[in-house]
Amino acid sequence: MGDDSVREPGPTTPELLADLQAGLLDDATAAALRQRIRADPETAAQLAALDQVRRDLADLGADESSAPAVPVGVTARISAALREQHRAPAHSARHTPRWQLIALVAGVGAAVVGAVVGGLMLTRDPAPAWSTGPTAERITASRQATALPLSNPQIVGLLTQRPDYGPLADPAQRASCLSALGYSATTAVLGARPVDMNGRPAVLIVLPADTPRTVLALVVEPDCNAAHSGLLANTLVTRP
């Protein structure tokens, strides 16, 4: 046969088979191991098990239906970042012809003028920077009728008041609710108040966000629990 130089692989272990599958073995060792696989059904079954792992991983990578819920704070934060991104629209990133650069320069000049005028206006206007209207429709996962029932200043105002949990007064249920929302049961609730959400009772709770300057306001159904968060709306609010 002339195969005297072929190195016999050691005992066939799952690790050795995995090395073969991953392409880690030298040609001679791999050839000897393949021969053993052909001759030994048990070894072949072990290799099939490793192939099954790869199939399971591929299936998991494409299986959206089994993916768990995302913590609401993560969703809110990324949604806010995407909205911020819209100040530089994606389609503006294309290659820009020279004639468009002229228009771009003119546009930038106009923007600078606008910024200066705007800045002057702001320095003269002592009015609060908060919008007086609700803002949650810009953040929530579903934008239909999901405006928060409180304005940003009202939400910030809750931070200085004793939380009124209403139907979530039971600490155990509250902890369960926080868990469903993707938070630790011990997360400090910064504020809370029963609210009316589109004619239905709900509870607005305020939680810490990623930065000290922001808080996360969530509106949940009164029966929020570990199995059902009943999340109705959420938004990031910047403290003044």
């Binding site: 090395d19 599958q21 098990a49 199939r55 591929a58 990578g61 959206e64 089994s66 990324i78 994606a90």
Partner: protein, 196 residues
């Protein structure tokens, strides 16, 4: 139903609308796939915080680069790969940080669970692997990156990626009790690329 325009639009239509200037289209795309995107980020990151950061980086990148998408794959697949890429990039930049590794014999998932729950069992077993091994199989087996691409993204040698994949697959097969089962009867219909 309200006036939300994203309802009923395909992923490709949402992406095209985003490129055309629809300020809500990309966010709708993100919401549609966020669970799987976050899961992939979680698989490929050291911590939930890293996963969230990487996911945000990836979404902002996809948002910016949408005009360059060539529609040669599903939009969701494109998003998945951007997320995994972002996670691997973070791992590469922080590869000297200490990692939490589990003992080899800790990689068991408990009692056998019906095959219908495969996704949950595989996910649980995967999360018990060291992040380096997890990231390697997520890139190669889950997202179809080549070993060379994965090695480049992680900033390691190709042999290192192969070794991590090998160890991860052996541990997963053990944890999923596939070595004890009749693998032939459990195998699906789909073949794995690059088989032996």
């Amino acid at each position: 139903m309200g006036s939300f325009e994203g309802v009923g639009r395909s992923d490709a239509e949402l992406l095209a609308a985003h490129v055309a200037g629809d300020r809500y289209a990309f966010e709708e795309l993100f919401h549609r796939h966020q669970r799987q995107l976050y899961r992939l980020a979680h698989f490929s990151s050291r911590s939930p915080e890293d996963a969230a950061d990487a996911l945000q980086d990836a979404m902002l990148k996809a948002h910016r680069n949408a005009p360059a998408f060539r529609h040669d794959s599903a939009v969701s697949s494109w998003l998945y790969r951007i997320v995994v890429n972002a996670c691997l990039d973070r791992l590469r930049r922080h590869q000297h940080n200490p990692t939490t590794t589990l003992e080899d014999d800790a990689c068991h998932v408990g009692d056998p669970i019906p095959r219908v729950d495969t996704a949950i069992v595989v996910e649980r077993a995967l999360m018990r692997l060291p992040v380096e091994q997890r990231a390697a199989v997520v890139a190669v087996d889950m997202q179809g990156y080549s070993v060379a691409e994965t090695a480049r993204m992680l900033g390691v040698a190709e042999g290192t990626v192969k070794s991590r994949c090998s160890r991860a697959r052996a541990k997963l097969a053990e944890a999923l009790e596939l070595f004890n089962a009749d693998a032939a009867t459990r195998s699906g219909n789909r073949d794995v690329e690059g088989g032996v």
